[in-house]
């Protein structure tokens, strides 16, 4: 109960709020918001309390992993999967992030979604998401993880398309779902592969998909580890928005902003990172896959950062920033520094949630205006939002002592230290870009002169306490969250790494220390330089960026249009698939062969046979008696002749 309670509370919330939504729709009068708040926010907070109480022993002591078997899911012959939960260090970290940030965002939503007619439905979805995410991180086997994986995918789809009356938003939801299917397919193949390799070796009670069983028998998987992990990584590419499957995430910004913060920044998109951390014993056996993961991660980080430089939609900038930061995490995973990746996952959850919610606060105040060209100087109207946003920006751009500095620097250092120089150089470059686009966003939104219409300016207001309090909490976390992993040379102690105990870490020597100092100086200096440039560009000399854009037309357009990736996908994948579906698969196979020949053909044949048989049924008794006699004669002849 200790473990299942964590996910049952939000599930109860989803059921209750779903009922409220249905009842409200039936009675044409929504259920009072207070009820929805009590259950929709109260139960996630209860889940948080549950998580803390389950996690505390892990933080202050080192107990055995906690296991709980909910039910026997399926048993077919030797194959067996349980609905089991597992709590160890990784999942403690994850459930604390999920329920912690999740509860805050639920709270924030009570302000943000206040006037939405589908209030109860929104909370039902959000609670359901929380449940699924908790299943994902608590499941003790691959299938439970997959259940959560699909559950969060479903909720993501439902929430992106929450305002489905707008066809563009509905299409964004659909896109997210379809792109994720590609990744899920890879994940499934990985699962099947594991089953096929481990099935001959399971005993009576073991499940081939159980993580602990897999770890004990990792040797059996070693031969195919490269391909298996590659398939798992395809799943991660989809869920965590990496090249080439990242295209859904920027579109996913169509959903309500708290959703973007919770699902598309802090929790769901990090599922791929969690998966690699959970299966690190398997990825350790596949150095080629790891190399691949690192390269994909780094390229994604860089590539997304360049796009973010020129976007004008406040949420789009943050979306590409998220893709970019996820790339960092995959870089960390790929070089084998799993705990660093988890560290960055945590700090990113704090500051990116804060940024998104800050953006939400702005959008809320500006009546759904999202273009930063029409903002500016908002600091005066909404000081809390502005300063928390600045703190989060300091964190993401890597300025000490804010959280992002520690985690990002650790990634860069580990990358160099493990000898991936090219990736490291790209990483530093990306850090500079990150600092630039984030400060550009901050300056354009909150500083300088206000470019909104005077009418709009009159309505701008600070958000209610339910929203600002959450911003303050998250800003605090963004400020101090990094102290969990202070590097050795700064006289600190890396609590998180020691506690997680994931992967191998190279020894710390004088050379490494020098390298680390140098990197720190470089990245902090670079970040400050970028910030200054952004300051000059967007506050002091606004004509500069315009001139720059004019003289580098080509690359500016390329970035503004996101490298035309969507267009390329549309031309090379979407349209061909559509066309072949219409003409070949639908027209020929489905309509003609399946419908025409198989379905209607067999139907017509059977109907014909039926009419033949019915013809004997003429209604005349003497005919019937005659048939009796015929049958009897036939039978007797058979008996005699035989």
């Amino acid at each position: 109960m200790q473990l299942s309670g964590i996910l049952l509370w939000p599930l109860l919330g989803a059921i209750l709020n779903g009922t409220f939504a249905l009842v409200g729709a039936k009675r044409k009068r929504p259920v009072p918001r207070l009820w929805v708040n009590i259950f929709g926010v109260g139960l996630p907070i209860l889940a948080l309390a549950w998580s803390v109480s389950a996690g505390l022993p892990f933080i202050f002591a080192e107990p055995e992993p906690l296991r709980e078997n909910l039910f026997s899911w399926m048993t077919v012959g030797n194959f067996r999967v349980d609905g089991g939960l597992l709590l160890d260090q990784i999942s403690v970290l994850m459930i604390l992030i999920v329920t912690g940030v999740g509860s805050l965002i639920h709270l924030y939503s009570t302000g943000y979604m206040k006037d939405d007619p589908a209030y109860a439905k929104y909370f039902a979805y959000l609670n359901l998401f929380l449940t699924s995410m908790l299943i994902l991180v608590l499941g003790d086997n691959l299938l439970m993880m997959f259940l959560g994986w699909e559950g969060v995918g479903l909720c993501s789809y439902l929430l992106i398309g929450f305002w489905f009356e707008d066809p563009a938003k509905a299409a964004a939801g659909k896109k997210a779902f379809v792109v994720n299917r590609i990744g899920d397919f890879g994940f499934l193949i990985g699962i099947f592969w594991v089953i096929s390799l481990l099935m001959p070796h399971v005993g009576d009670q073991a499940s081939p998909l159980n993580f602990e069983f897999m770890q004990q028998n990792a040797g059996l998987l070693a031969g195919s580890a490269t391909l298996i992990t590659a398939f798992f990584f395809i799943g991660a590419m989809g869920k965590s928005a990496q090249i080439p499957l990242y295209v859904w995430l920027p579109d996913a910004m169509a959903g309500p902003t708290p959703v973007s913060a919770l699902i598309h920044a802090a929790t769901m998109v990090t599922a791929g990172i969690y998966m690699i951390a959970r299966l690190s014993f398997l990825f350790d056996l596949a150095p080629q896959t790891l190399q691949f993961v690192a390269v994909i991660g780094m390229v994604t980080a860089f590539f997304a950062a360049t796009i973010a430089l020129v976007q004008n939609d406040i949420k789009k900038v943050l979306a590409y920033s998220t893709v970019s930061q996820l790339g960092y995490m995959f870089l960390a995973m790929g070089i084998g520094s799993y705990s660093t990746g988890m560290f960055h996952l945590m700090t990113h959850a704090f500051f990116k949630a804060c940024l998104f919610l800050g953006a939400g606060s702005v959008i809320h105040a500006m009546h759904h205006e999202q273009d930063i060209r029409h903002m500016g100087g908002l600091r005066r109207f909404m000081p809390v939002t502005a300063w928390t946003f600045v703190i989060a920006t300091l964190a993401i751009s890597g300025i000490p002592p804010f959280a992002g500095f520690f985690s990002k620097d650790e990634i860069l250092w580990e990358t160099f230290h493990r000898g991936h120089t090219i990736l490291g150089v790209l990483g530093v470059l990306t850090a500079l870009l990150t600092s630039f686009y984030m400060w550009r966003l901050t300056f354009l939104t909150f500083f300088g002169k206000c470019r909104a219409s005077s009418e709009a300016q009159e309505h701008v207001h600070e958000s209610p306490f339910s929203m600002t309090s959450v911003l303050i909490l998250l800003a605090t976390l963004s400020a101090v969250g990094g102290f969990l992993g202070v590097p050795h040379i700064l006289g600190g102690h890396h609590y998180l790494r020691d506690w997680l105990g994931l992967g191998q870490h190279p020894a710390q020597d004088a050379h490494a220390d020098r390298l680390e100092m140098m990197l720190m100086a470089l990245s902090v200096g670079g970040a400050l330089l970028s910030a200054t440039t952004a300051y000059l560009f967007y506050l002091k000399k606004p004509q500069w960026p315009r001139r720059l854009a004019a003289s580098f037309q080509g690359i500016y357009r390329l970035w503004l249009n996101k490298y035309y990736v969507d267009e390329v996908y549309d031309a090379t994948v979407v349209q061909p698939v559509k066309r072949s579906s219409e003409s070949f698969f639908y027209g020929l196979i489905d309509r003609l062969l399946i419908d025409g020949v198989l379905i209607n053909g067999s139907g017509r044949f059977l109907a014909f046979m039926g009419s033949l048989v019915s013809r004997l049924q003429g209604g005349r008794v003497n005919a019937y008696a005659f048939y009796f006699l015929l049958a009897l004669t036939g039978m007797i002849v058979w008996v005699v002749v035989r």
Binding site: V621, Y624, F628, L630, A631, L632, V639
Partner: protein, 501 residues
Amino acid sequence: MKPDALPLIHTFWPLLLIGVGAFASLITSVWGSVRSFRVTGLLAFGIFLGAAYGFATLDPVAHSLAGGILRADGLGYFLSFLICLIGAVTVVFSFNYWENLSEPVQEVLPLILFAALGMVLMVLTTHLLTLVLALELMSLSLYVLVGSRRADPKSSEAAIKYFLLGSVAAAFLLFGISFLYGATGQMDLSLMGQQALSPDKALLFQVGVLLLLIGFAFKVAAVPFHFWAPDVYEGSPAPVTGFMAAGVKVAAFGAWLRLLHVLVSWEFLELRTLLVILSLLTMFVGNLAALRQRSLKRIMAYSSVAHAGYLLLGLATLVEGAVFLEAGMGVILFYLGTYGLLTLGVFAMLTLFSSKGKEISKLDDLKGLGYTNPVFAAALTVFLISLAGIPPTAGFVAKYFLFARAIETGLIWPAILGILTSAVSLYYYLGPVVQMYFHDPVGEKSMPAATLGMKVLVSFLVLGAFYLGLFPGKYLTWSNGIRLEASRSTPILSGMPQTRP
């Protein structure tokens, strides 16, 4: 009292109860008023439940009376139990159907009791003479019941047809029995089995067996002896059709089981081949002919034919050379119970639909019922899809066990063909469902109020359909434990108080 009267009462009291009750109901229904109809109905209902309880709790002792004229064994008790339940359900139907008339047809209830008495006797005997008498008692009562809607010429037509063809079948049966007697000099099946057969009488014997089998094939509506079924099912009042479809099938298959048990010992009969051929014919014709029907009653008639085909396949699995695989009977018994339950369910709906003496069973009449009468439509849907064999309902489990058994015993191709025809059956079972849910209601639909008993009954039947589908274990264990010969160790309902002498 004569010395062996006591064990007679102990062993056969439920049977006597039905017999006495049948005569008593004649007396109570003499007044011809609505009240007397009610009293008779309560009496009949009580008798059926009491007898069912008796058959379920009695310990099968294999008492055989006067050379097998009556025989008390596990199979007989089990089937009698089913028959009594079917009878009880039919009584509730009849209440709903006839009570609303200004002048209820009084003789209906006594006739149901007499027919049930015939059925019970049929499954409680191995003596051919008793068998014929029982069969005729059942048949004659049914002929009258079929024609009990006197104002409706269709009802009379059905009764005449049933009577004429039934007489032909009875003639075959009697001929068969006389041939068998001629060949063996015995009237009791259990004694006949111990008889050595002189070779010159083999042909006589074989033809006798064929005639006997045809007699029962007629009763269960096996092809090509099924022609009466659609016309009779359509013409008779809905409660009677339900009673006929469920009850006669149980009784006739019970008799068939007994015959097979004895006849397998003569290997030259090739009963297995014969049964498989009959079964395939029946499955195909039943399922195919049902496709074109536009009346739910006719659909149910062909459905009854089709299910007889599946049951015949079940019978074929019991014959293995000269051995009768008694353990396989459980599958057939399970199937019989399930089929009875579901068929009665459909006819409960038809009864509700056809009250006030007006029969309505055209598919077009069901249009839009899913919206005007959601509960009715939902229940009918459950019964129909269960008959089609869709999980998680009883029909699926029954078919699954039956076909699985067929495959186990090597009847792979017949099983595959059977499953294919079962797939075809989905079309006509879903036809009414499509009418109810995918068409707009036409005109004013007034569903006559159902009596409380009817509501309770339908709820029970729906629950039963799901219960047997989800938790078949208990009932299956019970039916699997049924044996033909004495099985003193297993009383039918374990845990029940046993009325043992």
